[in-house]
């Protein structure tokens, strides 16, 4: 493709980043300088610097919430940065829209594939840049080209006429990649491309990446799996809290410990209030029976043989990557999914499998990950939302007692310091942290004794997080058993008494939080497919 590519190794194997690799060879394709992007209440990017050279695989590392997704969207033209400069081959450019980015040669493969399910493979590949003459698509040419692209991607068996919605996840990803190739991308952004792939598919993907880079295409590669970064990466840049903390490290030789140290060490210590007294320092010794017991819980393809117990006043943290089966596990405990094997007990009494009413009656409450869509009635008042799970208690002959409803809601709001403490206010108008408190308040009104929190601080700004942590600690002090799932390791370690590490649906480690360091957990969580 370009003259710079001549000294790249032959196709089929990624070029070696041994110092003579692309670092000195490839032309600088993209430079991002001091990129800042703020959303209402959150500073997603607070000064990101990135340099990508032609023919390299540039890996982007960072924990969840470090700003990787926002950075990708800025690169893809979907978000406009508040400040900072983007240069393309030395020239300042504005990526005003996805189309502008594509014209420049920046193609993005999002983690959530953005294909049109009802259209054929060919139509998806050429959507927006159709091969057309006088408005009529040159179907034969387009179909042939799509078939050729799929063959080049190692999958000639995917029929160009097939409807994309009927393909498997891996098949859809190939279509997405074929589309990027059809755009003649000079820079390809891949967001966790291996998340949905089996091992031999991953090999195929890496072969393609190798071919692309040998042809001078640059790849920005996002993955949590160190092993992949070692295998195909040339250089690594690390993001933390929306900033670049390290640039252009050697992907092969930089020790994992260094990378993990760069990604972790978040200064959250100040945010976690000291707990007045660890309620169960030696839980086994206290002889206190478990409030929640989960025995050998399994669901095909989601999680396997998960067992744990939580005592009253104890906080169990579950660490794991997205896709490790965390949310599925909580939903199964809550009865929203029926387990294939195993059971859930509260106070030693087994719950009816796959029954939410049974779980709720036993005192289990769930604060789901997507609180806006899964927990809250956004247009309704705080009071209505808070009493939603306990309406029978407020009803007489089918009519609800509004005054008592409002009064009780107000009590809980004061207790949780939800602001503004106005029960009549629509939940939609509250901030993320206060919405989360409303969900928690709902279960408190219900008198719940086991609270499952799935990513409780997602979309909550730092100040409000401290508030939520305080609430969690107070609940524990009041004797509630809590299970907290989070992809942010510092949060799990800071909040929980005991930590359970989940990887690919299995418990890989369980230990008191005090005995674990952030680096340990990150290591266990990310080891991933490292054989």
């Amino acid at each position: 493709m370009s003259g710079q590519a001549t000294d790249q190794p032959p196709a089929g194997e990624p070029s070696t980043p041994d110092g003579t690799g692309p670092d000195g060879a490839g032309e600088v394709l993209l430079t991002m300088t001091d990129i800042v992007k703020t959303f209402p209440g959150v500073r997603a990017l607070g000064g990101v610097n990135l340099e990508v050279r032609a023919g390299e695989v540039h890996c982007l590392l960072g924990q969840n919430g470090a700003g990787k997704s926002t950075l990708i969207k800025v690169l893809a033209g979907a978000h406009q940065p508040d400040s900072g400069q983007i240069r393309w081959r030395g020239e300042p450019v504005v990526l005003s829209s996805p189309v502008a980015a594509l014209r420049l040669g920046v193609a993005t493969m999002y983690q959530e594939l953005d294909l049109v399910p009802g259209l054929s493979v060919t139509d998806n590949v050429f959507l927006g840049h159709e091969r057309a003459r006088y408005g009529f698509t040159r179907r034969r040419a387009a179909r042939a080209e799509a078939a050729a692209l799929l063959a080049r991607l190692g999958h000639p068996e995917i029929h160009p006429d097939q409807t994309v919605g009927e393909l498997s996840a891996a098949g859809q990803q190939l279509v997405s990649m074929a589309r990027a190739l059809a755009h003649n991308a000079r820079l390809l952004i891949m967001d966790e491309p291996t998340a949905a792939l089996a091992a031999d598919e991953v090999d195929n993907l890496f072969r393609i990446v190798g071919e692309l880079t040998s042809a001078g295409v640059a790849v920005v590669y996002i993955s949590h799996r160190m092993e992949e970064i070692r295998r195909i990466g040339h250089r690594v840049s690390v993001l933390k809290d929306g900033r670049t903390v390290a640039r252009d490290l050697d992907a092969r030789t930089t020790p994992t410990a260094d990378l993990v140290a760069l990604m972790s060490g978040r200064r959250l210590d100040a945010v976690f209030p000291e707990r007045a007294a660890a309620p169960a320092p030696e839980p086994a010794a206290t002889g206190q029976p478990a409030l929640l017991t989960v025995e050998h819980l399994s669901r095909a393809g989601e999680f396997t043989d998960v067992s744990f117990t939580v005592r009253a006043g104890e906080i169990l943290g579950i660490a794991g990557l997205v896709g490790a089966g965390r949310s599925e596990l909580l939903e199964t405990v809550f009865g929203a999914r029926r387990p294939d094997a195993g059971r859930v007990l509260v106070d030693g009494v087994p719950l009816r499998a796959g029954s939410v009413p049974s779980a709720v009656a036993a005192g289990i409450g769930l604060c789901p990950e997507e609180r806006k869509s899964q927990a809250l009635l956004l247009e309704m008042s705080v009071a209505h939302n808070v009493t939603l799970a306990s309406l029978p208690a407020y009803s007489r002959f089918g009519f609800t007692d509004r005054d008592r409803e409002t009064r009780d809601a107000l009590d809980r709001l004061t207790e949780l310091d939800l602001r503004p403490a106005d029960p009549a206010r629509a939940v939609r108008t509250l901030s993320g942290g206060n919405q989360q408190k409303a969900v928690v308040a709902r279960w408190l009104v219900r008198g719940c004794r086991v609270l499952l929190l799935d990513e409780p601080t997602r979309g909550v700004d730092v100040g409000a997080r401290a508030e939520l942590y305080r609430v969690v600690h107070e609940l524990a002090a009041a004797g509630v058993a809590l299970v907290v799932v989070s992809s942010e390791v510092p949060e799990v370690l800071g909040l929980a008494d005991r930590v359970l590490v989940l990887r690919e649906g299995r418990v890989v480690h369980q230990a008191p939080a005090a005995e674990l360091t952030e680096a340990d957990v990150l290591d266990m969580v990310m080891e991933g497919s490292a054989a």
């Binding site: 189309v99 294909l115 959507l127 009529f136 068996e157 006429d161 498997s168 996840a169 891996a170 098949g171």
Partner: protein, 356 residues
């Protein structure tokens, strides 16, 4: 990853074994997955039923009658189907047929304009209303159901108010004596003699509309865009599909179809009632849905909508031929709608499941 079959598919084909990802491409499989299937079965059923119980239904005069009835409805249904595949509704489509006819008739009879000139102006009026609908929907993000409900009532009020203001009655007539009536009538409202029987030219317009719409939908770049904006507007925008422009164009297409039907009506009957067209908008949508369109957009067929209209015409006239009370029409309609939707739904699901 969660789905074991997905993982199996991800491994690619074993040499020698047929790959499951390309399975189900047989003729039967493709036919079953077509959106028109339910409508086609319904049409055959209705046709056989009325052919069997009445004599006139299959006679040339009978055929001409139900084809004629289907034609004007069909022109609209095809345009409405395109709009629905694009993910939007147009409730003002029914009233639009009256508005355009009224504009044409008033200009020709009151101001003495040449009919062709009057038609040109009413066309401009229709396109402007369509563009307004589309612009408002895209600009505000409000559901098109509400926006076009507003234009529906506004147009109905205008139709009645202006007509009464100008003529003192609620109808406009007398276009026959206007200049240019003969030639315009020849194009839009003449009959064609086939084997000694008169067939309305509107049938040709209907067939033409269905053919052109299908070509656009299945063979053109615009067609891809229509499916894309209805099925996944966000993804479409991300790859450079002009979503706003496509949708506005679709609203203008429905308005254009409304103008065509209004023109056919006014030139044929030479008079138009100010309250005409009210209630038809749902018949258009029903025809499109019987023809396989999803209310959620992204899926459907123009030919299916044309067949949906054909079912309407056959049932409406079949009931007359059978000398039943007209009231039964709606019962038929309801049963057919549910039946066609159930068939479409079942087959689509089965087709999808078979390939996963």
């Amino acid at each position: 990853m969660a789905d074991p079959t997905a993982v199996r598919a991800a491994r690619g084909p074993t040499p020698g074994a047929p790959d499951e990802r390309v399975r189900g491409q047989g003729l039967l499989g493709r036919l079953v997955a077509r959106p028109e299937l339910g409508a086609l079965l319904g049409a055959v059923g209705v046709f056989v039923f009325f052919s069997a119980i009445t004599d006139q239904f299959l006679s040339p005069l009978g055929v001409a009658t139900w084809l004629d009835d289907s034609a004007t409805l069909g022109i609209m249904a095809v345009a409405v189907a395109l709009l629905m595949i694009g993910g939007e509704f147009d409730l003002s489509a029914g009233v639009m047929t009256a508005s355009t006819a009224l504009v044409t008739a008033m200009l020709a009879t009151r101001l003495g304009w040449n009919v062709w000139l009057a038609l040109l102006l009413s066309l401009a009026f229709a396109l402007a209303v369509g563009a307004f609908n589309g612009f408002l929907v895209m600009r505000t993000g409000l559901p098109s159901f509400i926006v076009t409900l507003g234009t529906f009532f506004a147009l109905q009020g205008l139709n009645l108010g202006v007509t009464r203001l100008v003529t003192g009655t609620v109808q406009v007539s007398g276009i026959r004596s206007a200049p240019g009536y003969e030639s315009a009538g020849f194009v839009f409202a003449s009959t064609v003699d086939l084997g000694g029987h008169a067939f309305q030219i509107s049938i040709a317009w209907w067939v033409g509309a269905a053919v052109i719409a299908s070509l656009v939908l299945l063979r053109s770049r615009l067609g891809n865009w229509i499916f894309a904006v209805g099925g996944a507007a966000g993804s479409a925008r991300a790859v450079g599909v002009p979503v706003t422009r496509t949708k506005i164009l679709l609203f203008m297409t429905t308005a254009l179809a409304g103008w065509l039907v209004g023109t056919i009506n006014i030139l044929r009957f030479a008079s138009v009632q100010a309250n005409q067209g009210v209630g038809l908008e749902f018949q258009f949508i029903i025809a499109a849905v019987i023809g396989g369109c999803l209310l959620t957009g992204g899926f459907g067929s123009a030919v299916g909508a044309a067949i949906g209209a054909l079912i309407f015409g056959m049932v409406r006239q079949g009931i007359v031929f059978a000398r039943w009370d007209n009231d039964w029409f709606f019962l038929f309609l309801g049963v057919l709608l549910l039946g066609a939707v159930l068939v479409n739904n079942t087959f689509r699901r089965r087709a999808e499941r078979a390939r996963r």
